[in-house]
C-alpha cells in the first residue's frame, strides 16, 4: 500500500494501524489520481442534504401554478396564474403582508438598538465575570426553543400574569398585552436578540480598541466615536445581523401564532393555513413561493450593496490571503 510512514513493526500503535486500514480502503475506493476531485467528494453529503430542500421547491412551484377547482376540490390539470391573482386581489393578504413587513422593520430596528450595546460591552469589558455573565445570559434563551419562550411570555403578559400582578401592586390598571401585535413584537425581539449579538460581536472584535481610544483622546464625544468610528468599521456585522433578524422575522410562524391569539397572523401562518385548514395547496404554494422571493430579494439587494462576503463562509480568509 501507499503508506510511507516508517516503523511498520509490531510496535505500531493501534490508532495508526486503524488509519493504515482506512488509508488502504481509501487507496482502493479513491485512488490518488482522483485527488483533484476530493473537494467535490467532501461537498457531496451537504449538497445532497440541501438537495432534499431544493427538491421540495419543485412540487411547490408546480402546485402554485394550479388553481383549486372548487367543484372537485382538486388542483387544476392546466397551468394558470389564478393563485397569484388571488393573492394580489384578496385584501386580506395585503393586510397580512403589510403587518409582517412592519414587524420586520420594527423588530430589526429594536433588536439592533438593544444588541449593539450588549455586544460592545461583551467585547470590551475588562471583567472576565461580566463577559461570562453576558455570554451565558445570551446562550440560555438561545438554547431554549421559541415555543417555550413564547409560553414564558404568555405567563408574563397574561391576564393573571406577572405584569398585571406588578401593575396591581403599584395600584395601576391592568394591561391586556397578551394576544396583541405588541406582544408578538416583544416576543420576536427577545427571540432575535441572541442572533443579533452573536453576529455583531465578531465584527466589534475586529475594531481595535485603540481606534476608539484615539478618537476619544482627540476629543470626540462618545456619540461621535460611535457614529464615525464604530458604525462604519463594524458595518459588515451590522448588515449581516440586520439581514438575519429581518428575514427571520419576516418568515416567523411560532410567535405570531402563539402570542398573537389568532388575530395577528404573519405570512407564514397564512401559508400554513392555506395548506392545512383551507386545503388549498395551490394557494399555499403561491404564498410560500411569494414569501421566498420577497425574502431572497431583500437579502439579494442588501448583499448587492454590501458584498457577498457579508454572509459568506470564508470572509476572513479571502481578506487575509
Amino acid at each position: 500500500m501507499a503508506s510511507t510512514i516508517h516503523d511498520k513493526g509490531a510496535g505500531r500503535p493501534v490508532g495508526l494501524r486503524l488509519l493504515d486500514l482506512l488509508e488502504a480502503a481509501r487507496e482502493l475506493l479513491w485512488p490518488a489520481r482522483m485527488a483533484p476531485l476530493t473537494p467535490w467528494l467532501f461537498l457531496l453529503p451537504a449538497v445532497l442534504l440541501t438537495g432534499l430542500l431544493a427538491a421540495g421547491l419543485i412540487p411547490l412551484l408546480d402546485a402554485s401554478l394550479r388553481p383549486l377547482d372548487r367543484a372537485t376540490f382538486r388542483l387544476a390539470e392546466d397551468y394558470a396564474l389564478g393563485n397569484y391573482a388571488t393573492l394580489a386581489t384578496r385584501p386580506v393578504y395585503g393586510v397580512i403582508a403589510l403587518r409582517t413587513l412592519m414587524a420586520g422593520l420594527i423588530v430589526t430596528a429594536a433588536t439592533l438598538a438593544l444588541a449593539f450595546p450588549y455586544a460592545w460591552m461583551m467585547v470590551r469589558t475588562q471583567h472576565a465575570w461580566l463577559r461570562k455573565l453576558l455570554l451565558v445570559s445570551l446562550f440560555l434563551p438561545f438554547f431554549i426553543g421559541q415555543v417555550v419562550r413564547a409560553y414564558g411570555w404568555l405567563i408574563i403578559l397574561g391576564k393573571q400574569g406577572l405584569l398585571n400582578a406588578l401593575l396591581d401592586g403599584l395600584g395601576l390598571p391592568p394591561s391586556s398585552l397578551a394576544f396583541t401585535y405588541t406582544a408578538v413584537l416583544i416576543g420576536l425581539v427577545q427571540y432575535m436578540l441572541p442572533f443579533a449579538v452573536l453576529m455583531l460581536a465578531p465584527a466589534l472584535t475586529a475594531v481595535p480598541v485603540e481606534v476608539e481610544l484615539a478618537s476619544a483622546s482627540l476629543g470626540a464625544r462618545p456619540f461621535a466615536t460611535f457614529r464615525h468610528i464604530l458604525l462604519p468599521m463594524a458595518r459588515p456585522g451590522i448588515v449581516a445581523a440586520g439581514i438575519v433578524v429581518f428575514t427571520l422575522t419576516l418568515t416567523d410562524f411560532a410567535m405570531p401564532e402563539i402570542m398573537g391569539g389568532g388575530g395577528n397572523d404573519f405570512i407564514a401562518s397564512a401559508v400554513y393555513d392555506a395548506f392545512f385548514q383551507l386545503g388549498d395547496a395551490g394557494l399555499g404554494a403561491a404564498l410560500g413561493i411569494g414569501l421566498t422571493l420577497v425574502g431572497s430579494a431583500v437579502v439579494g439587494v442588501i448583499l448587492a450593496f454590501f458584498g457577498l462576503g457579508t454572509l459568506g463562509y470564508v470572509e476572513g480568509r479571502e481578506e487575509r490571503s
Binding site: 501507499a2 503508506s3 510512514i5 488509519l19 488509508e23 481509501r26 467532501f42 453529503p45 449538497v47 442534504l49 440541501t50 430542500l53 431544493a54 427538491a55 421540495g56 412540487p59 411547490l60 438593544l114 450595546p117 450588549y118 467585547v123 463577559r131 445570551l138 440560555l140 438554547f143 431554549i144 426553543g145 415555543v147 417555550v148 419562550r149 409560553y151 414564558g152 411570555w153 404568555l154 405567563i155 408574563i156 393573571q160 406577572l162 425581539v189 427577545q190 465578531p202 465584527a203 472584535t205 475586529a206 462618545p222 410562524f253 411560532a254 405570512i267 407564514a268 400554513y272 392545512f276 410560500g288 414569501l291 421566498t292 425574502g295 457577498l308 463562509y313 470564508v314 470572509e315 487575509r320
Partner: protein, 268 residues
C-alpha cells in the same frame, strides 16, 4: 468627561434591560413550575413539586422527550460529517462555482421555514419517509446545516495550510494527515457546531409540526398543541426540562471550547 459618563450610563442601562429581558421568560417558567394550584398566579401562593410528579406519570411527555432526543442524535450524526467536510472543502480549496455553491448551501436560510416544512413533507411523502421519527432528524439537519458549516469554517482560520503540507512532506498519506492534522485543528468548530445542531434539533418546532403525527409527535410540537388549548403549570415543568438541557449544553460548550470562541473576529 461628562459625555463619556453619560454614555456609560446609557450603555449600562440598555445592557441591564437586555439581561432582564433575556432572562425573564426563563425565570417565569421556573417559578411557575413550582405552583401548587392548577392555574399560574403571581406571586405564587406556595411551593409544590406536584407538576413534576405529574410529569413523571405522563407517558406522552416522556415519549415526546425521547423522540426529540432521537431527532437531536440523528441530526447531529448527519451534520457532523456533512458540515465538517463541506466547510473544509469551501474554506480550503479554490473551487469553481464557489459563489454559486455558497448560495446553494445557504438555501436553508433563504427559504422560509414554513416553505421548507411543506416542501420536505412533500419530498418525504414521496420517498415513503413519513410516519417515522428519524426523518424529522434529517429535516432538522437540512434546515440548520449552514450553522454547522459556519462553525467549522470559522475554525478553519486557525488551521495553517502549511501544517498539512508539512504532514504530506513528511510522508503522511491523505487519510493520516486528515485525521491527525486537519481534524484536530478544526475540532473546536466541530464540537461547537455539533452542540448547536443538537440543541436546535431538540427545539425544532415548525418543520416537525408538519412531519409528525400523533404517534411521532416531538416535545416542542406537543407543548405547542398544549399551549393552544389551555395554559397549565404542567407545561412549565416540561419547559424546565429544556432549561436544564440548555444549561448543560452551555456548560459543555464552555468546558470544551470556551464561550469566548463566539467573540473571535472572523478576520482571525
Amino acid at each position: 468627561m461628562t459625555g463619556s459618563r453619560k454614555a456609560a450610563w446609557i450603555i449600562g442601562a440598555i445592557v441591564a434591560f437586555d439581561l432582564l429581558f433575556l432572562a425573564l421568560p426563563t425565570l417565569v417558567v421556573l417559578v411557575a413550575s413550582f405552583t401548587p394550584g392548577t392555574i399560574i398566579t403571581f406571586p405564587p401562593p406556595g411551593f409544590s413539586l406536584r407538576w413534576y410528579g405529574n410529569l413523571l406519570q405522563a407517558r406522552d411527555f416522556a415519549d415526546a422527550l425521547w423522540r426529540s432526543l432521537q431527532v437531536g442524535l440523528v441530526c447531529t450524526a448527519l451534520s457532523l460529517p456533512a458540515g465538517t467536510l463541506a466547510a473544509l472543502a469551501l474554506a480550503r480549496f479554490r473551487l469553481r462555482f464557489a459563489t454559486g455553491l455558497q448560495i446553494y448551501l445557504l438555501l436553508p436560510f433563504t427559504i422560509p421555514l414554513v416553505v421548507s416544512g411543506v416542501g420536505l413533507m412533500l419530498v418525504f411523502g414521496r420517498l415513503g419517509w413519513l410516519g417515522a421519527v428519524w426523518p424529522v432528524g434529517v429535516a432538522a439537519c437540512v434546515i440548520n446545516l449552514p450553522f454547522m458549516i459556519w462553525a467549522v469554517a470559522a475554525s478553519v482560520n486557525h488551521l495553517d495550510p502549511d501544517l498539512e503540507n508539512a504532514a504530506a512532506n513528511c510522508g503522511a498519506p491523505p487519510v493520516h494527515s486528515f485525521f491527525t492534522v486537519t481534524l484536530p485543528a478544526v475540532a473546536p468548530g466541530i464540537l461547537t457546531g455539533a452542540l448547536i445542531m443538537f440543541i436546535l434539533a431538540i427545539n425544532e418546532f415548525l418543520v416537525s409540526l408538519m412531519l409528525t403525527d400523533a404517534r411521532t409527535v416531538t416535545l416542542p410540537v406537543l407543548v405547542y398543541n398544549a399551549i393552544r388549548s389551555i395554559i397549565t403549570p404542567d407545561l412549565a415543568a416540561v419547559s424546565v426540562v429544556y432549561v436544564i438541557l440548555a444549561v448543560a449544553a452551555i456548560w459543555l460548550l464552555d468546558r470544551l471550547v470556551g464561550l469566548d470562541i463566539f467573540l473571535k473576529s472572523k478576520q482571525g
